[in-house]
Symmetry: C2
């Protein structure tokens, strides 16, 4: 199955698509990378606690240990830890004009039980990203990580670094530390995102620490986990829409990343049906829930589903609206989707929108 380097280059040359990749993961070489960005108090804490990772995640990934086998930088360190090698292997090879970075495991910060540490950690990650990545190439764009355990502190962090020209979004895990993200306690975060003209990106996260498990309790194997973690996306969509978030923040833009999209038609139709029947309980929801979806939400394609009958994917995308779909590679994780190959079962015009135009419009990138 694997192509040689030459075959791969040949195949990529066949297409001239410009690509915006909205899900790229830098990794730390080690936690030591963050040390210099803590203040003295947290430097002491860091040393004394011998912290070895942002957060652990409990699943073994039985494919390549969760990382592309060919993505280890030649100078050493884990996949995704070299801005230079990522330029070669990802940006140049795949014609990527904008790569939106979300520090690996950063989507777990809001699950940490130690709130003050989570706040300090998010800030250190943001300073590291600005210092080591956004300065390395203008194609790299950043996600402001925040600790949503304290929404006011999260808003302050967005104001602190959100105006950096390379920062294009607030980056959250899809799990919320308490209640769904439609609860009013989180309003300061959406307010700060809009104030700083940032998209809010929700990335898949794993139940651990403060996070709730799936509706049936802990999943017992990795395919089961992969097939059901999108429930958290479904839940947050309902929580935010029925919580009235988009009436309070009509300019808020939401990107749902690595949660798939095949569940979106279901949620649009189901929310519409129940809103129509029982809307007297939520008078602040002014229109059909699917209208909020079509105005405020975008969905990353990765991991792209394969169906026996290709028309089924097209039908699902048509139900959502092709304008809501944006390309994500998930580099350097093992499920990497190549922009030149993953969408080849879709019509050319649809592919161009998904690979470039939709994200350009959503993030407001200039030509």
């Amino acid at each position: 199955m694997a192509l040689t380097q030459e075959e791969m280059e040949q195949r990529n040359k066949l297409q001239t698509d410009k690509v915006i990749d909205i899900d790229v993961h830098p990794l730390l070489r080690s936690m030591e990378d963050l040390y210099e960005y803590f203040d003295d108090t947290w430097k002491d804490f860091f040393r004394a606690s011998k912290v070895s990772s942002i957060t652990g995640q409990p699943f073994l990934v039985p494919v390549g240990g969760g990382l592309r086998m060919d993505s280890y930088p030649p100078e050493g360190g884990p996949p995704g830890s070299s801005p230079e090698f990522m330029k070669t292997q990802l940006l140049d090879q795949h014609s990527i004009s904008h790569a939106i970075l979300f520090l690996s495991s950063g989507y777990q910060i809001s699950s940490l039980p130690q709130e003050q540490w989570a706040i300090a950690l998010a800030s250190a990650c943001n300073d590291f990203l600005i210092d080591k990545w956004l300065s390395a190439d203008s194609r790299y764009k950043g996600s402001v990580l925040v600790a949503t355990q304290d929404p006011q502190a999260a808003a302050r962090e967005i104001d602190r670094v959100g105006s950096h020209p390379g920062m294009v979004q607030v980056g959250l895990g899809i799990h919320s530390p308490m209640r769904g993200y439609g609860d009013k306690m989180y309003d300061p975060i959406w307010e700060a995102a809009v104030r700083n003209n940032l998209v809010v990106c929700f990335h898949v996260s794993v139940a651990t620490g403060l996070y709730k498990n799936n509706s049936t309790g802990p999943t017992q194997n990795f395919p089961e986990f992969q097939s059901t973690h999108n429930q958290t996306f479904q839940g947050q969509m309902a929580s935010m829409i029925f919580g009235g978030v988009f009436e309070k923040f009509p300019e808020l833009k939401v990107a749902f990343i690595e949660g798939g999209f095949s569940w979106v038609p279901h949620m649009m139709f189901t929310m519409d049906t129940h809103w129509k029947a029982a809307r007297r309980e939520v008078p602040w929801v002014k229109k059909y829930p699917s209208e909020y979806v079509r105005e405020h939400f975008w969905f990353g394609t990765q991991p792209i589903i394969k169906t026996a009958n290709p028309k089924h994917v097209l039908q699902l995308i048509e139900m959502i609206g092709v304008d809501r779909m944006i390309f994500a590679s998930d580099y350097p994780h093992w499920e990497f989707d190549s922009p030149q190959m993953a969408l080849n079962h879709l019509p050319k015009e649809m592919r161009e929108k998904i690979l470039f135009e939709n994200a350009k419009k959503m993030y407001g990138f200039e030509d």
Copy 2:
């Protein structure tokens, strides 16, 4: 909007469909109805504890208090408490040949923290149903309620009453008391169902007691709950398929009731994609997960979704396979779907399968 009684009868006469209704809820007049079916020990317990309902459920339903306003029996008592009035209002008026009964709130029994009480309660409910309902009309068919907190006791209860000629299924809530229903601890239940030639029906249930909440924690209003409780169905489907249940029990038939169906294509495509990538962890899953869905699962239509574009419902049903769809009215609950009206946006041939033929085949009813 409401039709007069005369208009309603006229409309129903226009159609001669035979109907199997797989979701009908008898209600107790009061818990006192069950008293005679307990043994002396539990009679004492019952009196001393002053138990007033099978289980509480925490949601206010802001439409008719959750019950059809016109379904109160003329002789008094709550909706669904009179076998005679139900015959008139449901069976006769809607040409229903088989009404599959699931005692209201019976889907909450496996959430009770007091295991021995749950076991005694399930038995009393089953004896009550046989005594007061299955004997009242041969069109009434029964669900064997069990307490899945103790799978061995559940299997014994299935053997105790499952061979009654009116019993056609085991009736469970969709929530499991611990881990997903794919865990091997539950195998004795599936084994007993197959041994007694019973379908296993999973009905929507509400997070309370032992049950886990949705993936985002407690939902905060009823439309949000209604739009996301189907996550538990999605989770149990993945748990059972990846747990290998259908390789162990190839004759097992599963009916998913009041969880909708618009999420099913998503789960088929998503499970297939992740099984293909990571199946080495679950070698006992021998084929694409969607194949198990198409062989072992049936889905109740209620509450039927309405879409702005009617072709979207047709496309979703086609993705699942029309043979997997079965009609459910949910009488006397407020979301009641009339068999003569709810499916009118579907083609006639499809409607006949869903209203009658599919359920007849699944339950093995004779002509």
